[in-house]
């Protein structure tokens, strides 16, 4: 090729190359934004995406309202600081209190960190007493500090999410979660269809609106006094657990 012709072509092509480079950047940006929009739409349709269940607050401190449903991710740290995956701002809960991890078929495995304690169905867990991870099965009670929480796994995660029939007595279970039809917000209801109905109390909701206390707790304990202030409930269809939303957590985190 003639050198002069090539020089003209090459100098002209510079602008085309720059234009193509800008076009590549523009299309990459559009692609990222389109994927982000689609992901947000998907997450809006699937409010429980990324979560394995909820911890329902049975009794708690000022930062934890009774009935609050805290979404539980697959894995993380539970503690009293906002940066934890499960934020439980109750007295007696350390900054990083315990490590949890969900394993399908086994349930929520927890392991208290050094110097921390937890009660699972009245069984004390510490680093020394329970060196292996302890499963918190569907319906189990978890007590850390002044907070008493009940774990409810979402349906369908595994046929045997580890529901523990030993503790499924009427005094322990407490009120049944609300069915879907009564819920206005994006709250998922636990399906107990796979559990024999004989294990459930005939009247799951206490008539005086007080949640039953687990395992030897009396009215004198701080958790008990908070529990007595629980709002009245007239029936399972009118109780709607308040759920901490995904974006609330991020708004709270960023505000600090």
């Amino acid at each position: 090729m003639f050198p002069q012709l090539y020089e003209v072509l090459s100098l002209s092509a510079r602008y085309l190359f720059a234009l193509l480079a800008v076009l590549m950047v523009f299309r990459a940006l559009v692609w990222i934004l389109a994927d982000r929009r689609e992901t947000q739409k998907t997450l809006h349709r699937l409010p429980n995406a990324g979560y394995v269940g909820e911890l329902i607050v049975v009794a708690g401190d000022r930062g934890l309202d009774t009935g609050l449903a805290i979404p539980v991710p697959w894995e993380g740290i539970l503690g009293s600081v906002r940066s934890c995956d499960l934020w439980v701002p109750a007295a007696g809960v350390r900054r990083n209190h315990l490590f949890f991890s969900f394993q399908p078929g086994q349930g929520l495995l927890i392991h208290p960190l050094s110097g921390c304690e937890a009660l699972v169905n009245n069984r004390l867990l510490t680093v020394r007493s329970a060196p292996e991870k302890t499963p918190v099965t569907n319906g189990s009670f978890l007590q850390i500090g002044n907070a008493v929480l009940r774990f409810c796994a979402f349906a369908g995660l595994a046929p045997d999410t580890g529901f523990d029939p030993v503790h499924s007595s009427a005094e322990v279970l407490g009120p049944r979660p609300v069915p879907d039809t009564a819920v206005s917000g994006p709250v998922s209801a636990v399906r107990y269809d796979s559990v024999p109905p004989a294990q459930y109390p005939s009247d799951p909701c206490p008539p005086d609106g007080v949640y039953p206390l687990p395992y030897g707790m009396t009215a004198e304990t701080p958790a008990a006094s908070d529990a007595s202030a629980a709002p009245e409930v007239s029936g399972p269809s009118s109780v709607s657990p308040v759920r901490r939303r995904r974006r609330d957590r991020w708004e709270v985190d960023w505000s600090e």
């Binding site: 090539y6 510079r14 602008y15 190359f17 720059a18 193509l20 590549m24 995406a49 349906a155």
Partner: protein, 411 residues
């Protein structure tokens, strides 16, 4: 994995294919080079295959794959401007890197961070990093060793293993073993006088520790240690000292170590905004072993605008990787993807900053584009980790969708 969703990737791929078709065709027509004609057809085809066909075979993120292909094609193009044989070699390394990428993605999806994986991976990573201490270094650059007719940087090959080891230890809250592993790696790198590698690795470890623990004190202490290390290295290592303190030398002084830095910056500035014109300049005066000048060559050939555009494409790649890390369901894949993103990001920053004289000559290779073949393979392995995590996220989202259908049907 993105095949079920409509993806606006067609025009990105088409723009890239046209870019490289013209970029290879022009010099091929001038020189009547058969290699150039073959590359003008083969490179766009490989971009198309990698962006559209490969995601159907293995679970990779299509956008990440397209961006990676575009960067690697630029590496082949820049080597072609020096010598066609170098371009072929770069393309072969790209092919090997794709295999490593697929293996990394599979490893990330299948491996559990237990002792059965962490111990061997840590041992291999330490061995690869320490290998240059045992071998012969004829290149004169830290971290290199001879292997037959060629040279390679075995420490770079350890990076795709290093990140999963750190991520595995941190996800299981084994902070002291993670700290010990990092200290061992840094010691090996400092023994080889590879300050840049030590700083990049140290920075990655500090940010990963912070990501795993959320501990701001740890982050501040880590950054302070990095700064102290950089300062100490600048005082002790001759190359760094020269870059900062020695004034510009005369062109006749070809023995000076400061000469490459000046050539590098001259390359960037001589290209201007639009470039000097493909094939109109002669970048052959840059030694082919100086892998940190790839960005300078890019800016010289295509202009500063194109250089900035490629930096923005790097930013897009890092953003995509960090999105995959943030949406991971478990700590191990999340930390693994984040570690890969941080490592690629720091390496890019070091390479570009040294080209623009914002930092001294660090020796860091520009990811995917540099002539450092082991770095190319290692970076593709790191991208494979991100692909693996992205694939896991897609699978998890599909499972959630099917569970939601299950709940609705049971109502």
């Amino acid at each position: 994995m993105n095949r079920k969703r409509h993806s606006p990737g067609g025009s990105l791929c088409a723009a890239g294919m046209l870019f490289y078709f013209l970029a290879f065709l022009l010099p091929a027509v001038r020189d009547a080079s058969m290699t150039g004609y073959i590359l003008a057809v083969a490179v766009p085809c490989l971009i198309f295959l990698g962006s559209y066909m490969l995601p159907h075979l293995v679970p990779v993120d299509r956008l990440l794959m397209t961006l990676t292909n575009l960067f690697c094609a630029m590496g082949v193009l820049l080597r072609f401007s020096m010598s066609p044989s170098l371009a072929i070699r770069q393309a072969v390394c790209f092919g090997i890197g794709i295999l490593v990428m697929v293996c990394s993605a599979a490893m990330m999806q299948r491996v559990r961070p237990g002792a059965g994986f962490l111990l061997p991976a840590a041992a291999i990573s330490l061995l690869l990093t320490g290998l240059p201490l045992l071998g012969k270094n004829s290149v004169g650059l830290p971290g290199w060793m001879e292997l037959g007719q060629s040279s390679l940087q075995p420490g770079e090959l350890g990076k795709p293993l290093l990140i999963p080891v750190l991520a595995g230890l941190l996800s299981r809250r084994r902070l002291l073993p993670a700290l010990g592993f990092c200290a061992a790696l840094l010691s090996l790198l400092l023994l080889q006088r590879d300050l840049c590698g030590a700083l990049i690795l140290g920075g990655t470890a500090v940010l990963l520790f912070w990501g795993a623990t959320g501990n701001w004190i740890l982050l501040i202490l880590g950054l302070a240690a990095e700064t102290a290390l950089a300062g100490a290295g600048g005082l002790l290592l001759p190359s760094f000292r020269l870059s900062f303190l020695v004034p510009p030398v005369s062109p006749a002084d070809t023995e000076s170590a400061a000469l490459p830095l000046q050539n590098c910056f001259q390359l960037v500035s001589s290209g201007g905004l639009w470039g000097a014109g493909l094939g109109l300049s002669s970048p052959q005066e840059i030694p082919s072993g100086q892998s940190e000048f790839s960005f300078a060559l890019l800016c010289h050939s295509f202009g500063f605008i194109a250089g900035v555009c490629f930096l923005m494409l790097y930013a897009a790649l890092l953003w995509r990787g960090s999105s995959a890390a943030r949406t991971a369901r478990r700590s191990f894949p999340g930390l693994g993807a984040m570690g890969a993103v941080i490592l690629i990001g720091l390496q890019t920053f070091a390479a570009v900053s040294s080209t623009l004289q914002l930092l001294p000559l660090t020796g860091a290779a520009l990811p995917f584009i540099s002539s450092n073949e082991t770095s190319l393979i290692a970076c593709l392995g790191l991208v494979g980790l991100i692909h693996g995590v992205s694939g896991m996220n897609e699978i998890a989202l599909e499972e959630d969708a099917s569970l939601a259908m299950l709940e609705r049907s049971g109502a």
